[in-house]
C-alpha cells in the first residue's frame, strides 16, 4: 500500500510545483475563498517584514498568525513553497496512517458486535468487509492530496495547510491511542485557531473507548481519565501560550489572534456566514450577534456527543465539518480537510438521502470584479448556497449514518408490528 501512496504523493507534488511556476499562483492567492485575513500568505510576509523593521508584527491590523508561525517562517521563508508541499504530504500521510488504524478498530468492533449477536439477522449487505475497506486509507490520502481545494490552498500558500497538518497529526495520535500526543497536538491546533477546542470531546470519547472505560457519569475511571486528558491539554496549551510570549516578549498576539477570531472585525467576503450579516448590522447589536454566532460553532458538541458517543470518529468528522462551516473565517482548506474523510463513510451510500458527489459545483466567484450591490447579493447568495450545500452534505451523512446503525440493530427490512413495510423517518 505504500507504493500507490508514494505515487499519489509524487503526482500531487508535481501538480503543485507546476502550479507554483504558472501564472495561476498569483491569481489564486488573491482569491478570498482561499486566503482569509487569518491565513493569507501576504500577511505572513508583511508581518515578518514588520518584524525586520523592528516593529511588532501585531501592530496594525495586518498579521493574525500565532508566534509559532513567525518562528517557523522566520527561517523557512525562502523555502515557503517546499514547506507547504511538505505540510500537505505530511497531512496526507498522517491521515493515511490514521485511517488504516481506524479501519482495524472498526473491523475489530464489528467482529465483536457480530459475535455478541447484536446485529439483526438480515443485515449482511451492510456489514463492512476488509476487501472494501482495503483501499480506504489510500482513497483518503489521495482525496486530500488531489482535492482541488487543497491544491488551491497550497498554491496560495495559505497557512490553513499548517492547521490541517496539526489536526491530522492530532487525529493520528488519537487513533493510535496516545493520550499525551493527542493532547499536545490538540493544544497546538487550538492555539493556532480557536475552534479545534470542540474536537476535545470526540477525542476524549475515542480514547475512553480505546481504554475500555465506559462513559458513565458515576464511573471513577471515567472522571480520572477525563481530568488527566483535560489537564494534559490545558497544561500544554498554557505552556505553548507562555512560550509564544517569550518569542516577542509581549502579549500582543492574544488580542491580535484570538480577539480577532472571536470578535470578527474584518468583514471582507469569504465563504463563511459572518461577514454579510455583520456588514449590515448596527453596532449596538454586533456584540450580541457575535456571541450568538460563536456559540453556534461550539453548540453542537454536546448534543452530538450524547448522540454519537459510540462513534467518536464520525463525531470527529461531523465536528470538523461544523467547524469549517461555521467558523469565523473559513476557507476552502478547511473544507478540504473534512472532505478527505468522505471515503471513510462511502459505505453509507445506500442510506443516503441526497446523492452528493464529493466535489461541489465549481465556484465562479464574482468578488474581485464588480463593485456593485448586485455583486453583493450575488456573493451572498453564493456564499449561502455553498454553506447550505455543506450543511446538507453533513446532515445527509449524519442521517445516513444513524440510519445504518438503526438498520444494523433492527434489521434491514423494517416491518411494523402488523407486518407491513415501514419507512425510517428522522424525527
Amino acid at each position: 500500500m505504500a507504493a500507490p501512496l508514494v505515487l499519489g504523493i509524487l503526482v500531487a507534488v508535481t501538480v503543485r510545483a507546476v502550479l507554483y511556476r504558472s501564472s495561476l499562483a498569483g491569481f489564486i492567492s488573491e482569491r478570498v475563498e482561499v486566503a482569509s485575513p487569518l491565513n493569507a500568505w501576504k500577511r505572513v510576509v508583511e508581518g515578518l517584514a514588520l518584524l525586520d523593521l523592528g516593529v511588532s508584527p501585531y501592530s496594525g491590523d495586518v498579521f493574525h498568525e500565532t508566534p509559532l508561525i513567525i518562528y517557523l517562517f522566520h527561517f523557512l521563508i525562502e523555502y515557503s513553497e517546499l514547506v507547504f508541499m511538505i505540510t500537505d504530504v505530511l497531512t496526507a500521510v498522517a491521515l493515511y496512517l490514521a485511517v488504516q488504524d481506524f479501519n482495524k478498530v472498526v473491523f475489530k468492533k464489528q467482529k465483536l458486535l457480530i459475535e455478541l449477536d447484536r446485529y439483526a439477522s438480515d443485515v449482511a449487505e451492510l456489514i463492512r468487509t476488509p476487501m472494501e475497506m482495503h483501499y480506504i486509507p489510500l482513497k483518503v490520502a489521495l482525496f486530500y492530496l488531489l482535492n482541488p481545494y487543497t491544491v488551491m490552498s497550497c498554491v496560495a500558500k495559505s497557512t490553513c495547510a499548517i492547521n490541517n497538518t496539526v489536526i491530522a497529526f492530532f487525529i493520528l495520535a488519537t487513533i493510535k491511542g496516545s493520550t499525551l500526543l493527542s493532547a499536545i497536538f490538540l493544544s497546538i491546533a487550538t492555539y493556532q485557531s480557536l475552534y479545534p477546542l470542540t474536537l476535545f470531546a470526540p477525542a476524549l470519547l475515542y480514547l475512553l473507548q480505546r481504554q475500555f472505560i465506559p462513559v458513565k457519569l458515576k464511573s471513577k475511571d471515567f472522571w480520572l481519565y477525563t481530568t488527566q486528558y483535560a489537564a494534559l491539554y490545558l497544561c500544554s496549551l498554557v505552556v505553548i501560550v507562555c512560550l509564544s510570549f517569550f518569542l516577542l516578549n509581549s502579549w500582543d498576539f492574544i488580542p491580535s489572534v484570538y480577539g480577532f477570531i472571536l470578535s470578527v472585525p474584518d468583514l471582507t467576503p469569504n465563504i463563511g456566514l459572518f461577514w454579510y450579516f455583520f456588514a449590515e448590522m448596527f453596532e449596538h447589536f454586533s456584540l450580541f450577534f457575535v456571541c450568538v454566532f460563536q456559540i453556534n460553532v461550539f453548540f453542537y458538541t454536546i448534543p452530538l456527543a450524547v448522540k454519537l458517543k459510540e462513534h467518536p470518529i464520525f463525531f470527529l468528522f461531523i465536528q470538523l465539518a461544523i467547524i469549517s462551516i461555521f467558523k469565523s473565517y473559513p476557507t476552502v482548506g478547511d473544507v478540504a480537510l473534512y472532505m478527505a474523510f468522505l471515503p471513510l463513510w462511502s459505505h453509507l451510500y445506500r442510506c443516503k438521502f441526497f446523492v452528493f458527489d464529493s466535489s461541489h459545483p465549481h465556484p465562479h466567484s464574482p468578488w474581485g470584479t464588480l463593485n456593485s450591490n448586485t455583486t453583493d447579493v450575488y456573493c451572498v447568495t453564493y456564499t449561502l448556497y455553498i454553506s447550505l450545500l455543506q450543511i446538507l452534505l453533513i446532515s445527509d451523512y449524519f442521517y445516513a449514518f444513524l440510519r445504518r446503525e438503526y438498520y444494523l440493530t433492527h434489521g434491514l427490512y423494517l416491518t411494523r408490528k402488523d407486518g407491513t413495510e415501514a419507512m425510517l423517518v428522522l424525527k
Partner: protein, 383 residues
C-alpha cells in the same frame, strides 16, 4: 605761536572731518540690508469687507510713497472694491471718512487679484516655490539682504486667518513658511504686521530669527473697524490700520522715527483692542530700527567732494558692536545639503532573530515529548 596753533587746529579739524566721513562710509557697510520688499495681503472678499482692501491699499500707498517700487511690492487683493458694482464712487477706495483720501489712485498694481489670493499662492510667494511660468511681478525675488514687510488683513481667529471664505492659513503654517524663507536665505529682516481679530495668535508660533511682529489685537480680542461712511455704506478702515496710516503719513524717507514709536500707535483708548508686538526673535533693539528700514526703500546717499580712504581690512567692524544691542549667539543657517548624511548611509537594520530562550524552550519541550512517547530507551541510539 598762535599761527602754529591755528595750523595745528586746522590740521586736527581736517583729520576729524576725514574720520567722520570714513566713519560714515564704514557705516554704509554696517547694515545687513540692501533692498526692501513688501508683501501686502488682503484676504477677504465681498463688498462688506471693503475695509480690508482699504487697509491694504493704505499700507501700499505708504510703502510706495516711501520708496519701494512696484517691482518690489507683491500686492494681493482678494476682491475688487474699486470697480465693485456696489461702489457708489467707482474707481476709488477711500480710507478716510468724508472721502478725503483715495488710496486707489491710478498707479495701483495689483499682482494677485480676486481668486488668485489663496493660501497656496501666498505660501508659494513667500517660499519662492513658484511655477516657472509665473511672471516676475508675481514673484518675491528677495535675497538674504532684503528687509521684507509682510502685511496681512482680513478675518481671523485664534491661530488662523481666513482666506476668501473657503480656507485658512494657520500660525504654524506661517511660522514654517518663514522658517523656509530663513533657511533659503530669502530675508535679512522681516516685519510682520497683521490686522485681524485675535491677530497676536498669528505671530505666537514664529521661531525663525530676525522677525519682528505687530498685531492689532491680542488673543481673545476683536479688532474693530473705524468708521462707517454713510455715503459708501460700509466701514472704510479698521482702527489699527487707520492709526498706523496716520502715523505713516508723518514719515518721510529721511525720518529717524524708530519702531518703538510704531509700537505706541493706537493705544487702547483709540483702538479698543490692545495691539501687541513681538521682538524677541529680532537681533537689533527696536529703538535702533528705523521705520524706513521696512516701510521705505531708502538709499543712503551722501555726496562728498573729498576722497575717503577706506581701510580694506575693516578690522573694527566686528568689534564695533554698540553696547545696547542684545548679545545673541551667532546665527547660523541650517545645512542646505546634508552631505555627511548622504555619504554615510544609515547602517542596515539588523534582522530580527527569535530570542535564544524561546528556541531553547521550544526544542527542549519537543525533545521531552518525543522521549516521553517513544521511551527513554531510544536515547542510547542517539547519543
Amino acid at each position: 605761536l598762535l599761527f602754529s596753533c591755528l595750523v595745528f587746529l586746522k590740521g586736527v579739524g581736517t583729520v576729524e572731518r576725514k574720520n567722520l566721513s570714513e566713519d560714515q562710509a564704514e557705516q554704509f557697510f554696517r547694515s545687513g540690508h540692501t533692498n526692501n520688499w513688501a508683501v501686502l495681503v488682503c484676504t477677504s472678499r465681498f463688498w462688506f469687507n471693503y475695509r480690508h482692501v482699504a487697509n491694504t491699499l493704505s499700507v501700499y500707498r505708504s510703502v510706495k510713497r516711501l520708496g519701494i517700487p512696484d517691482s518690489h511690492i507683491v500686492l494681493m487683493l482678494a476682491d475688487d472694491m474699486a470697480c465693485n458694482p456696489r461702489n457708489p464712487k467707482p474707481a476709488t477706495v477711500f480710507s478716510h471718512k468724508n472721502m478725503e483720501l483715495n488710496v486707489y489712485g491710478d498707479d495701483v498694481e495689483v499682482d494677485y487679484r480676486s481668486y488668485e489670493v489663496t493660501v497656496e499662492n501666498f505660501l508659494r510667494v513667500l517660499t519662492g516655490r513658484i511655477p516657472p511660468s509665473t511672471p516676475r511681478s508675481k514673484r518675491l525675488l528677495s535675497d538674504d539682504r532684503s528687509n521684507i514687510l509682510i502685511y496681512m488683513t482680513g478675518h481671523g481667529g485664534n491661530g488662523f486667518l481666513k482666506f476668501q471664505d473657503s480656507e485658512e492659513i494657520t500660525n504654524v503654517e506661517l511660522a514654517d513658511a518663514f522658517e523656509q524663507m530663513w533657511q533659503k536665505r530669502r530675508y535679512n529682516e522681516l516685519l510682520f504686521i497683521i490686522d485681524t481679530c485675535q491677530g497676536a495668535s498669528m505671530y505666537e508660533r514664529f521661531y525663525s530669527p530676525n522677525i519682528m511682529a505687530l498685531a492689532s489685537s491680542q488673543v481673545g480680542e476683536d479688532s474693530l473697524s473705524h468708521q462707517p461712511d454713510l455715503g459708501i455704506g460700509v466701514h472704510l478702515m479698521d482702527r489699527y490700520t487707520f492709526y498706523v496710516l496716520e502715523f505713516l503719513e508723518e514719515i518721510h524717507p529721511a525720518s529717524q522715527t524708530n519702531m518703538n514709536d510704531l509700537f505706541q500707535v493706537c493705544p487702547r483708548s483709540l483702538c479698543v483692542s490692545t495691539p501687541g508686538h513681538r521682538t524677541d526673535l529680532f537681533q537689533r533693539d527696536p529703538q535702533n530700527v528705523l521705520i524706513t528700514d521696512f516701510f521705505g526703500s531708502v538709499r543712503k546717499v551722501e555726496i562728498t567732494t573729498e576722497t575717503v580712504a577706506l581701510d580694506p581690512n575693516l578690522v573694527g567692524l566686528e568689534t564695533r558692536v554698540p553696547n545696547d544691542e542684545m548679545a545673541t549667539e551667532p546665527l547660523k543657517y541650517a545645512e542646505q545639503l546634508p552631505v555627511a548624511q548622504i555619504i554615510h548611509q544609515k547602517p542596515k537594520q539588523k534582522d530580527w532573530h527569535p530570542p535564544g530562550g524561546f528556541i531553547l524552550g521550544l526544542w527542549a519541550l519537543i525533545i521531552m515529548v518525543f522521549f516521553k512517547t517513544y521511551g527513554i530507551k531510544h536515547m542510547k541510539y542517539i547519543f
